[in-house]
Structure formats: C-alpha cells, structure tokens
Symmetry: C2
Subunit: 233 residues, 2 copies
Amino acid sequence: MVSAAAVIIGNEILSGKFTDENSPWLARRLRSIGVDLARIHVIPDDVDVIADTVRTMAGRFTHVFTSGGVGPTHDDVTFEGVARAFDVPIERNVEIEAALKKHMGANCTPAALRMADIPQGTCLVGEGFPVLVCRNVVILPGVPIYFRRKFDLFAQTLDGAPMESDRLTTTMRESTIAAILSEAAKRWPAVDIGSYPRVETNPPSVIVTLDSRDAHQLSQAREWLSPRLVPSS
Amino acid sequence: MVSAAAVIIGNEILSGKFTDENSPWLARRLRSIGVDLARIHVIPDDVDVIADTVRTMAGRFTHVFTSGGVGPTHDDVTFEGVARAFDVPIERNVEIEAALKKHMGANCTPAALRMADIPQGTCLVGEGFPVLVCRNVVILPGVPIYFRRKFDLFAQTLDGAPMESDRLTTTMRESTIAAILSEAAKRWPAVDIGSYPRVETNPPSVIVTLDSRDAHQLSQAREWLSPRLVPSS
C-alpha cells in the first residue's frame, strides 16, 4: 500500500491568520489516485521541528509532501529543515539559480537566490521551475496554485490502486445503528465504514461512508446495510 | 507562555471526505485568548496512534485538545487512546451514564453507553454534558457545533496574555523586501514577522503580518517598515 504524510509548515496556519487550503486538497487528490494519506502535521517555521517531523515521517511512509517555507524571506527554512533531517549540507543548485536569474532579471536579489540553496542530493522533477524531491520528501510551495501545479507534475510519476466509495444517509440515531455498523465492519474487513452525524439537518441524520479497494466487498456491504438503515415507522 | 496542541482524530479528514473545520476555528480562538497553538496533528482512528500522539503532545505543551472519536460507533476509539497514553484503565462514569439515560431514554443502547466509558482520572468540567479533561488533555467531540460549545466552556477556566497583530500590504516583490523584513526581525525580536504572497491580486501583492505580545515593539516595527514597503515609482 502506497502511503503518504503531509507536513504543512507555517506559523500563519497555527496562529489562525490563514487557513490551510493545501492539506484538504491533497487529501482528496491522493485519495483519487489511490495513495493513503496517513498523517497531516501542521508545524511552525522552525528548523529543528521541521527536521524532526520530516525524518520521522520519511521513515514511516512512502511519500512525504511538505507545504510552505520555500520562499526568499527569513522565515522560509524548509530547505534547512529537510537537509538537517537527512544530515546533508545545503548546496547552491546551478540549474535553479539560472532559472531564477532568467525569470526575475534585475529583481533576482541575494535573498531570491536562497531559493536555489537546496539539500544535497535533491532531485529536480520537470523543467523550468521543477519539483524538488529529496529522497522520499516532495518539497512543495505553500501558495495554493503552485502547490497544486507542482503536486500534479510529481503525481504523474506515481501509480496507485484507486479507492471505491459509497455513502448512505439515515435518519436513525447513531447510537441505534452502532451495532449494525460494527457487524458490517466485522463481515467485510476490507471495507472502511465511517459514520458522521449531521445535526444541522432536520431531522438530524447520519452519513454512513463505505470505502474499499475491493469493489465486491463494498457492494456486498452496501446491500446488507441499506435495508437496515431505514427507520421503522 | 501557555501552549497548546490540537489532535484531530478521523479517517474522514485524511481521506478528504470531510474538511476539518475544528482546527482553523481553534487556531483563531486560541490566538484571541493568548494561547500559542504549536502543533496540529491529524491522525487516523487508531488506538495506538492516538495513544502515541497524545502522550507526546501532553508531555510537550500546556494543553492538548482532541477532536473526534467520542461517539457510540466502532470507529470511536479516542477514550481508549487517551487511556493508553497515560496507562490508565477505562471506567464507566455514573454521572455521564445517568445523563445519557435521561437524555436518550429508550434510545440509550449499550453502544450509546460506551460514551460513558472514559479514562480513569478524567475530570468533568461543567454540568449536564460536561467537558472531559484527562490530565492536560481536553477531549472534545468532532461535530463542529459541539466542539465549539465545549471548548468555550473549558476556555472559561483559562487565562492568557493576548497577542497584538497588525498587517501591511505591498506590491513590492517578496524577494525585494526579504532583506528589509530580516532586518526588522533582528531589530524587534519580540515581533513575529510573516510574509505571504498573494498571486491572485493584480498586481501581485505581499501581505506582511506583525504579531507580538509587546505592543511597543509592534508599533515601532510597523513605523519602521511602513515607509520601506512603498514601491519606488
């Protein structure tokens, strides 16, 4: 099973000044291509915390996607964090340096060139402004449109078995259907069954979700559950 | 400094089926009452992962707020996770049991009563359906309106120094202002300075945020930065 972790780097998310748009998008996108997102960690712009988090996640999951901290300002320390995670130095990359100079012209300040100082051994995927991949860590920018564009560029290199999904809605109480869902979870172990109360509907309802990479078990579970989630009148 | 971590428990967030509304709300709310949110970890409905995460966060930060996994269904395992984090047993709480029976009447199934099986040593804050606090872990429900209501009930017991904030917007490039921001960060160490490019505006702009618990340093930094972020025409 191909697994992934998202490491969202940014004081602005933790302080509530900006809402993280990248992890919800990444969660849906990974799911659609059959990769299991196992963790989302939102952490501050702190080299040691980035290093610890990246090292742990990289050892545990197939891919780690970082978001943010790759710009030219003093609080952009993701490259240092990833380098420290793997105990490698930072090196000026001539390919990125040339691309920055060409693109920015007179605006290419020494600060801007920090964006070309990347962990040793980082691979460049794609042309122009490539995706940076250091071992199994995919280093993505925090700005949502760039995050998405670069992720999609990287995703072309991935291959996963897609997840099939279904959902049922019932007006029975969650506490009443709990035993039914438990029974279904035991009968079809390959189906991940979730239940989510919606108190804002009238009457209150419960959304029951079914997810599996085994389409046969999924349809069996659905057939068994469907008549059992109809309230007796 | 009072610090906090958010532990968001739910496969439905990781799979992208639902977007986590609780951590962005919590981030803003904690900020407004002067508590530093240091981490947000989104993790699966897995007893061992919950136990590990809660144990680590509880040892590092003043408060841990968990979201989700406290309902009556098979995938609700937060109480077990918190109990295992502190190596204490699960016990039936008679106060919660009575409240559930009174509130649910005939709908109070054995599954519903699982909501009264909580970690030994958990304190009940408030009346009726109280907030559950196990050591420094505040166990909150995942349904957003209940999460907010219970958080606010708990927050009455907190006391923090509020953060003052300001922001400036410039159409100068981030790479051009990077050195200016670095200089300001050095001059006013108590001020947290962030810069966030907005590529969707025309012309593209950069939002510069200033945050501090020291109002004097904050206003000095603002006065110094403001004229330096005006593009020369």
